[in-house]
Chain length 205, copies 2
């Protein structure tokens, strides 16, 4: 298998953390330079018409895109440690939290960064700074909610580390571009959780 | 089980189509009036702090939110007809397409509607009409891609009906608010697919 990826982008980082937590070895990496627009070139668009990384290329040439779909496929090949849930009920609760932190926190941060950070102007085409500020408020509100949740349990989806922790951690890492810090916002439980995740070997880039 | 839902919103409609395709009966519906802001009231926020419908309330009081997580849980209880994939490989490919049409097409349409339609102003707070136009262009580009894909196969994720068809269909239904029509855009394959899905009993509202 080959992973078409971009080392510093948030979604590739999610897959890399997932792979590291699983201890999966032997996947070849092919680097795509987003700032040079390599993902928009015709040869990459043939791999993934959605022009996004990461893409997992299977040995028969099948191209699997979308971080969560790739993660589910890798978990089927490498079931342990389990990161997506064991029972239907647990799978649903983990997916609920994974989506909440991806769509509620991660997308707000993504649009905040994309529409306000000078370095991202080249990727976005046109930036909407006022819209970025609405997303900033949304991201902060979601972070406050997470802080309350994490005051009562050690991980995003419950009592053990799951894919939802990877998703939320990588979102907060990306938020460093807009200098969002849980501690500076007074969110102690979120900061404590963040620091615990950052101390895992899988979090080292 | 009880489903906290809002009849005409896109995500509740996805779950209703999923339930109808499965032929699941006996789920009580509790209507939440979004335009009256009932989802923002404290009693609903206790069910789902993300203030979104649908929410599936299990018999032990557990609240399961997020459409795709609810769908996965329902499929575990009612495996046939299969809508999420049978093998790990098929599950991954269906999830890839489900995410593509949800995040690529559905979110573009959602933001286009929310930031341009007068009736949605009350939900959105502040609308960004220029941003809506960027999302309109994004939605149209995604629709053109889907049209090319559907010229070569009958359903979004391959040769059979899956959750990805439900997601894409409900997105296009919501796009009627901004008068997006595949036929009017010259997208014959997408229109043919859309009309075939609309003819299914599960598509009747």
């Amino acid at each position: 298998m080959k992973l078409h990826t971009a080392a510093r982008a948030p979604n590739p980082r999610r897959v890399e953390m997932f792979i590291a937590e699983k201890g999966i070895t032997g996947i070849e990496r092919i680097e795509v330079d987003l700032l040079k627009g390599e993902h928009r070139r015709e040869e990459f668009q043939r791999l993934n018409p959605a022009v996004q990384v990461p893409v997992l290329e299977l040995d028969d040439g099948t191209m699997l895109a979308e971080t969560r779909a790739i993660s589910g496929y890798l978990e089927s090949l490498h079931p342990e440690p389990n990161l997506l849930g064991r029972t239907p009920r647990e799978r649903a609760e983990i997916e609920m939290w994974d989506r909440r932190v991806e769509l509620g926190l991660g997308f707000a941060i993504r649009d905040w960064v994309r529409h306000s950070h000078p370095a991202l102007a080249v990727l976005e085409g046109r930036q909407f700074p006022d819209y970025a500020q609405v997303q900033a408020a949304r991201a902060r509100a979601h972070a406050r909610w997470l802080d309350q949740e994490l005051a009562g349990r050690p991980f995003i989806a419950g009592t053990r580390f799951t894919i939802a922790d990877i998703t939320a951690f990588c979102a907060l890492e990306f938020a460093r571009l807009v200098k969002l810090s849980p501690a500076a916002e007074g969110l102690q439980a979120l900061q404590r959780w963040r620091d615990a995740i950052a101390a895992r070997p899988s979090a080292v880039t």
